[in-house]
Structure formats: C-alpha cells, structure tokens
C-alpha cells in the first residue's frame, strides 16, 4: 500500500470515467446489441405452479412461417445451478414445472413478434401436482417433494450453531426479550430487463453478451451446462442497467440462446419482458424470525438466540448462502458474548429467491434493531446511547469467530444523533411525528468464492506503451455502482496520472483476468487491492528507468500530475509518456499483473466460511416519520445517514450509493412486496404472482423520496485499498428498522413486519384504542425441526475456532420419483 498521505485523484469529487457514455446514450447495454443475421428467442413458461409435463407438441410452432428453431427440455440433458451444491435447474423443464413462470420451451424466429405467435402454437399437457404455497405448508408436506434433494420433505437446508451456552446466558440476564418478526419478500426491479445475445465467432467458438453481474461464474456454469470446453466460451458482461443482486445467477435464457446460436450458427437474442423479470426473481427471501435476547439492567447483551425460516421458492439459487447470512452477521455490530442461530430454508412453488442487496442480512437486522428499540424503551435508556455503549471494539473477534478490523460505527451514531437533533426530537415530537434510530453492517466482500479453489479472487492486468496509454483489464463488472471508475482512479493514483488517461476494459472472460464479479460488495476491496499491486509493479519499472536517466535512485522518483520527477529536486522532471519510453527501452514491452486473495479467517468449524470478510462497513441512520392516525398513511420527510466507508474513492459516487440504498430500503420498508395468491379452485387453484408488472409493484417515485442527509465517516481499514470499504449494500440495512422505530415514536404502535403499510398501522392503532397490545406482526414462530447445533466456544471462553462436538445429522432422504 502506498504510504503517500496526500492524494491527487482519490477523495475528490470527479466525473466518473464512464459518465460521458451514460449521458449520451452510448453505453451499450445487452439489448442494444444488434448483429448481422440475428434472430430472436422467446420462452414458453409454465402457467401452473407445480405439475408434471405429460407431453409437449411443437409441430405447429415449428411449421409457423419465420420460425427457425424450437427447443424443449430434451435438448438440455445437463442440470445447472449457480452453487456447486445445488445443481437443480433445467434450462427448459423436461419433466416437471415448479412455479408459474418456469420455462418449458423456446422458439427462435426471425423477429420477436413471430416468436411470440409461435409460443401460442406449442401444446403442453400437464398433470397438476399439489402446490406448496408457504413455509408452514412446506414443513408439513413430506410428499410431493418439490426438489429431490435437501434435508427431507420440502426442507432444503437446516443449519444450527451455538457459540457458548446461550441458555445459561439468557437465564442469567436481568431481562429476556422474545420477539417474532416477519420480513416479506421483494424484488430487485432493475429498470433494465435481462437481455442476452449469443453468437458463434469465426473460429466456431461461443460468445455470450449478457446483463450479468458475474461473468466468471456464468462462464464456468455455462460451459458445464453445454458441455463445452470453457476455453471455447467467452462471456462478456455488458454494463448492467441496475443489478442489485438480480443478475448474479446463471439464468435459463442465457443457456437457451447459447445453445440456439450453436445450433443455428447465427446470433440469437433474447430480452425478457417485465413480467418475465418478475418470474426470474432471485430476490429477497421472505423470512420469519424469532429473536431471544438477554440483557442486563444497564443494557449489556448477555446472549442472543436468532431463529430464521426462509421461503426459498422452487430452486436453490444462492439459497444455501442466503440461509447462513440470516444468522452470521448478527454479531458484528454489538458486543454479544454468546450467540446461537438456527436457520432453515424450505422449497415452495414460487419463483426462486436469491441474493438482493444485503443478501440475507436485512431481515435479521430488522428484527435485531427493532428489538433493541424495545429493550431501550423497557430499560428507560436512550436507544442511541444504548447502542453506543455496546458497539463492538476494533481489532477484535466476535463470538462466531469473525475478525473485526476498523469500526467507525460509534462515530456514525454520534454523527446522525447530532445532525438529526435526536436529543430534542426522540419522545419529544408532537403525537403523529417521531424519529427512530438503527444501525447496520455489511461485508466488504465474501471471504470465500462460491466454488472451492485457492486461486486469487480478483486479478488485474496493466498494459502500457510508448504512446503513453495505460490500459487496465479486470473481470469486474460495471453495474452502475462505479467499479470502472474505482479501477481507473486507483491505477491513476498510483501512477500519478489522471483517471481519464486510463482505458478501462472489464467484464470480458475472453480478455480480462478473472474477478469473481459484482456481488457481496467485494469489488472495491478485492479489485482495488489487485489494481494497487499491478500498478505498483509497473511503477517500479518506470521508476528504475527514470532514475537512471535522472541520475538518482528509484526510491527517489515521484509520480504526480502526469509527470515523473526527482522527489528531492522536482525541477528535474519528464512527462509520464517520456518515462514510459525509457522503461520500454530498458525492459521491453511494459505490463504487469496484480491479484488479491482475502486473509484467512480464524474460524475452523464447518460452515465458518460464510461471514468472514476482509473488512466490515458500518452505518447508522435516523428516520423521521409522520403518521396520519385517521388513514394510517406514513410519510417519511427526512432521513439522516452516516456510513463508515473507510475512505471515499470518489465522494460523488459514494454518496450516490448511500442515497440509493436509502431509496431502495424505504421501498422495502413501506411498499415493495413480491406476493402471491391462489386462484379460485374452479380456475385451477394455482398459485400466481399477484403483481408481475410495474403498474402494481409499487416503488418510490421522486415525489415519495424524502430529503436525505448523508455523511461519510472515513476510518481507513488496513485490509482495504487506500482504506476504502464498501458503500453499495451496507447503507440499506439500518433504514427499515429505523422506519419501524420512528413509527413507534410517532404513534406508539409496533409493526413487527415489513412492509409497513397503512392498513397495518390502522390495525395496530385500533388495538391500542381498545387497550390491547398495539402490535401487528406474526403471532408465533413455526415449529421447525432444527438439528442439534454445532457447538463452538467463543474466543474468550477458551475456544480455538473448532467445533467441540460432532452432532449427528439425520441422513437426507434421497431421490423420490417425480
């Protein structure tokens, strides 16, 4: 890492390097690609939530004028899935459909209209199976099984961990708080609908352009799905028109157009309709959770037990990881000496859930932060002071063996308390108005890749030549968050040039070094560290060549403002371009590579791989709410948020990530929900999506968006490039609970489930008027057969990071005929 104190590029508000393309309409999204001889693909999707396919007749569709190809499940013998442990998806369902929207056939035709027409000509006979619509039904239904793998019946995953004797910790507490919460599912809703174009190049090899956040994972999984050598497959991630986690899977349509392009020998494009994007989903899991927390009289936590139940939908997706994430990050904000979590994911006949901004952590964070508000109320403590008194200390381990480095959370709390005028507002505003506070934390990159390997998680390559041009190559993906700008800025900072002097080439598995992709807030930290290494290596070469010329030592060569100079005599200088010429003369063609692997985590128990990160970002938030007691209508006029970013590489983009997180969080808090309903029995009794359109799926417009006061806390983390942490996901987490807490402050009702809608507020107000418990939320936590926990002693109880028991697990029932 550079020891330089003053920065020329970093920390200054700048136009992002890809800004010009975005405002001129030149940014080429996947659906903007047009190739000669291109044909168009459409998918036929299941109208039933759970059924066996009896027969598919495609003859009429094949005979339709303009149709070039019709594909069905028979054309795709290999299953796929983004996680190696859940290879449970078919590009087109061969025998069984598992949710309304599951693809069963594809038509490739001269244009979209012709393909649509031909879809109607495909005749599919189905035999309906029992539909499993919610987690309790899934727990109670052994047969039929939606998937033939998993723990048993329709239980996909069961996880149980205990770090110290939590039963004892709760028994010794002065108070034990026991709450049940529900967080409804919602979806990413990127304005860009997923699109892909596949083509066979002059050498006969496959290229796929796609709106994907993870070209490397798609490359790997696509080659396997089509049984092609990976070296003959190239995946190019187009800039994404918003991702938010929804473009992290390998998707059915990506495999289908690839296969079609190989069969037809011509480019094939697909662009999903908005309705199909709702079916593709992979969004926020609906989670029911129970939290039992023991506290002392003065508000210290003695132990916590978190139980979660995730509604996974019909397939695995990232669900195994999502399930862990509903438990593992509960310990990184506040001191929790003993911790236990039980988590379960079940299959239901709905579109699969997966990773959405915050991946599995916003749901338990909501519960934890609302419960803390209840604790503060009961103990007559200020909720901000309570949090400040239990913030985790820097450079410590948590009970579940996560290593905390820098932590700027206390500073974040102090900042929002001051800027919001918290002390004069909390419990002091007139009836109907209130403020609420909450905190959150997130990973700066998942510690482990999704498939086991010991190779770097990010690679960066630099190419320089005598023209003075610097080109940087990296597999990272620009999804709007500004990763291309981060990459250019870091290279520019190290080489002493302008960010616009760096050409950025990213997200192309054919020409860029592997980076695992834009997920888990990993890009700034992992790509950034690799970029520093690559840039420092080539800077050393340039310094050696320039030092000879300026008759000094390489250590005495400085780089700034496009100049290379003697640090002890800045009058002796040359242009950056002249220095490259000297270096090319001395060393030959100039280039370098850098790579990054995260530090090893101290946890050694099975399952310790989910949760570790090179660093954690922290956020605190105060929300002001206004509640109309007559209508239940909730207004949010102002939000104050402070985010511990370590260091802001480009403050304009950092602020944009924080405010965008607040926006998305308010949608989840107040209106967004991906919900389903049963059709009446005479209309098939099917479970259908209630709102697969932008007309009914409500999100905030400019008129709904409050004023947001953003502050960045810069507490540089030694594991991060120039100290910079993530900003894209963490700031979402505290907003939802802060809204719930503000509503309580405003009108004294607890809404323990999201979204908080006017009808729920009114119902709670009615209860309050009748003298009942003024709360709306789940009444009980379902009976989940969690296994005996894996027990690991916390670091302060003599543990070494290994499990101290080896619980016996029931043998999962194997394949049941479909």
């Amino acid at each position: 890492m550079s020891a330089k104190k003053r920065f020329d590029v970093l920390g200054k508000p700048r136009r992002r390097v890809d800004g010009r393309a975005k405002v001129t309409g030149l940014t080429r999204f996947a659906d903007d690609i047009v190739l000669p001889r291109m044909v168009h693909c459409k998918l036929l999707r299941s109208p039933l939530p759970h059924a066996a396919i009896v027969s598919i007749d495609t003859a009429k569709a094949q005979a339709h004028p303009g149709v070039r190809l019709v594909l069905t499940g028979r054309d795709f013998p290999v299953t796929f899935g983004i996680l190696p442990v859940t290879q449970d998806e078919y590009p087109l369902a061969p025998e069984r459909v598992r949710y309304v929207g599951d693809p069963v056939a594809a038509v490739i035709a001269k244009d979209e209209q012709t393909a649509f027409e031909a879809l109607d000509l495909i005749e599919v006979k189905y035999k309906q199976l029992k539909t499993i619509s919610d987690p309790e039904e899934a727990l109670a239904t052994e047969e039929p099984r939606i998937q033939s793998y998993g723990e048993r019946g329709n239980i996909h995953r069961l996880q149980a961990y205990e770090f110290g004797d939590v039963g004892e910790a709760l028994a010794k507490a002065d108070h034990v708080f026991d709450d049940v919460f529900f967080y409804q599912g919602n979806t990413h809703l990127p304005i860009e609908q997923h699109a892909s174009v596949a083509a066979v190049d002059g050498e006969g090899k496959l290229t796929l352009w796609s709106s994907t956040q993870v070209p490397h994972y798609v490359h790997r999984a696509l080659a396997n799905a089509l049984q092609l050598p990976p070296a003959h497959v190239r995946v190019i991630a187009c800039p994404n028109g918003g991702g938010f986690g929804g473009k992290c899977d390998l998707h059915n349509h990506e495999i289908v157009v690839s296969k079609a392009a190989l069969l037809l020998g011509r480019p094939v494009k697909i662009c999903l309709t908005r309705e199909e994007v709702f079916y593709m989903h992979r969004g926020r899991h609906p989670v029911t959770m129970r939290m039992r927390t023991g506290v002392t009289r003065d508000g210290k936590i003695t132990g916590m037990h978190t139980q979660t139940l995730l509604d996974g939908g019909a397939y695995g997706s990232y669900g195994t990881a999502s399930t862990f994430y509903t438990g593992v990050l509960q310990t990184v904000t506040y001191e929790i000496p003993r911790y236990k979590f039980d988590a379960a994911r079940v299959f239901t006949n709905k579109p699969p859930c997966g990773p959405k901004r915050g991946h599995g952590t916003p749901q338990p964070r909501f519960g934890q932060e609302v419960q803390l508000d209840k604790i503060a109320e009961k103990l007559r403590l200020d909720p901000a002071e309570l949090r400040l008194s239990i913030v985790v200390k820097p450079n410590t381990l948590t009970a579940n063996w996560l290593k905390i480095g820098s932590i700027g959370l206390a500073e974040c709390i102090r900042k929002v308390v001051a800027s919001s005028d918290w002390k004069n507002k909390h419990r002091k505003l007139p009836e109907g108005r209130g403020v609420g506070i909450a905190c959150g934390a997130y990973l700066c990159g998942a510690g482990l890749p999704i498939y086991w390997n010991k190779m770097p998680q990010s690679g960066v390559q630099l190419l320089l030549d005598r023209s003075g041009q610097v080109t940087v190559f990296c597999g990272a993906t620009e999804i709007g968050q500004g990763s291309d700008d981060v990459l250019a800025a870091i290279v520019a900072e190290v080489l002493g040039i302008d960010a616009f002097d760096v050409r950025v080439v990213t997200g192309d598995t054919g020409i860029t070094p592997v980076d695992l992709g834009s997920y888990s807030s990993r890009v700034t930290v992992m790509m950034g560290n690799a970029a520093i290494q690559a840039a420092e290596r080539v800077r050393d070469l340039i310094a050696r060549a320039a030092a000879d010329h300026m008759e000094t030592l390489p250590e005495n060569v400085g780089f700034a403002h496009g100049r290379v100079f003697r640090a002890d005599d800045p009058g002796k200088l040359m242009s950056f371009r002249e220095a490259i010429v000297l270096a090319e003369e001395k060393f030959g063609t100039l280039g370098s590579v850098g790579s990054y692997s995260p530090p090893r985590s101290p946890g050694r128990y099975k399952g310790a791989g989910v949760g570790p990160s090179p660093a954690y970002s922290y956020t605190a938030c105060v929300v002001e709410a206004e509640v109309d007691k007559a209508t239940g209508w909730i207004g949010v006029p102002r939000v104050w948020i402070a985010h511990d970013i370590g260091r802001a590489i480009n403050p304009v983009l950092a602020r944009g990530q924080v405010e965008g997180s607040v926006y998305m969080a308010l949608g989840e808090a107040l209106m967004e929900e991906q919900v389903f309903r049963r059709l009446p029995p005479k209309l098939s009794n099917a479970l259908v999506h209630k709102i697969p359109s932008l007309l009914e799926y409500k999100s905030l417009t400019s008129l709904d968006m409050p004023e947001v006061f953003t502050e960045l806390v810069e507490d540089p983390d030694p594991n991060c490039p120039f100290g910079a942490k993530e900003a894209g996901q963490g700031p979402l987490l505290p907003v939802m609970p802060a809204v719930a807490n503000a509503i309580y402050d405003a009108v004294g009702v607890r809404i323990d489930e999201l979204p908080i809608t006017p009808d729920k507020v009114l119902a709670a107000l009615e209860k309050k008027a009748k003298g009942e418990n003024p709360r709306v939320g789940p009444e009980y936590f379902p009976d989940v057969p969690y296994p005996e926990p894996i027990q690991v002693l916390p670091p302060w109880e003599g543990g070494d990071g290994n499990a101290i028991n080896a619980p016996r697990r029931p043998v999962p029932k194997e394949k049941v005929a479909s």
Binding site: R20, D31, I191, R274, Q481, G660, T701, L703, V708
Partner: protein, 165 residues
Amino acid sequence: MSTQAPKNIHLTLRVNGESQEVSFAPYKTLLEVLREDMNLTGTKHGCELGECGACAVLADGVPVLSCLVLALESEGREIETVEGLAHGSNLHPLQAAFADLGGAQCGYCTPGILMTAKALVEKDPNPSREKIKEAISGNLCRCTGYQQIYESIEEGARRMREERR
C-alpha cells in the same frame, strides 16, 4: 390466429432534426421503430406499459412515453432523443451536469430523464426543487434515490442560463 404478417408501411420521421424514411410494421411503437428500425438505441425500455419513463422522448418539445405512441402517429412531429442532445462533441449542459454530479449511476433511466429535464428547463429556466420532482415523477430510477438527479438538473439549468448570458 392469422399467420399472415401485416404489410409494412412507409413514412418519413423527423428525428433530431433529420428526416429519415422508414419502413415498419404498422403495430410498432415509436420506441420500437427508434430502437429497431433507426438504430437509435439510446432510448430505453423498462416496462412496456408506460410506468417507468425509460422510453421518454420529446415530440414537438413535450415529453412522451415512446412505448405508448405508435410510430405511424409520429409523422410530421419533431422527435428528439438523447442522441440529439449534444452539439457535435460538446455535451449539452444537462448531460455534463449529470455526468459530473452522479445524476447517472447505471445510466439506464438517464436518457428518459434527460429528455424530461430538457423539456422542463426549456419551459422554466430556473425550476424549483418541487417543479423538478414533479417533472420527473414519471421516470423511475432504482439507483440514485433521485437527489443527485435533482442537483444535476439544477446545475444543468444554471449552466444553461450562464451560456445564454
């Protein structure tokens, strides 16, 4: 269902100050003709039912949702798209402000918002924050939380007023 393809119609559209003859199926929307038949892919789509605003273009200076307008209704109207905003290589002040101030994150809703903002600022050179919010309330952005968009429009309008001086 009829399998007979409808006959194409021919007409002249005026887009970004240039007249161009185009031939397309009569059911096509202005959005589809711009993107598919005129290769003007700067205009985006996000919902196909007039909810997201990504497809906004100007027709005779007024923002319209091009996914709800038939191309054949657009003959004789002056259509403006994001491709026509810059003067040669010089960005329009609104474009420059959006690029500088974080008004564009992923950039997908940006063309529609830029066109809506242009119509607003040409009518009201110094729009209030409330007017800006109202003007773009039909353009959904999932990235920014809108604040940097407001600031970009205010700064773009300021630069336009300065240019006029």
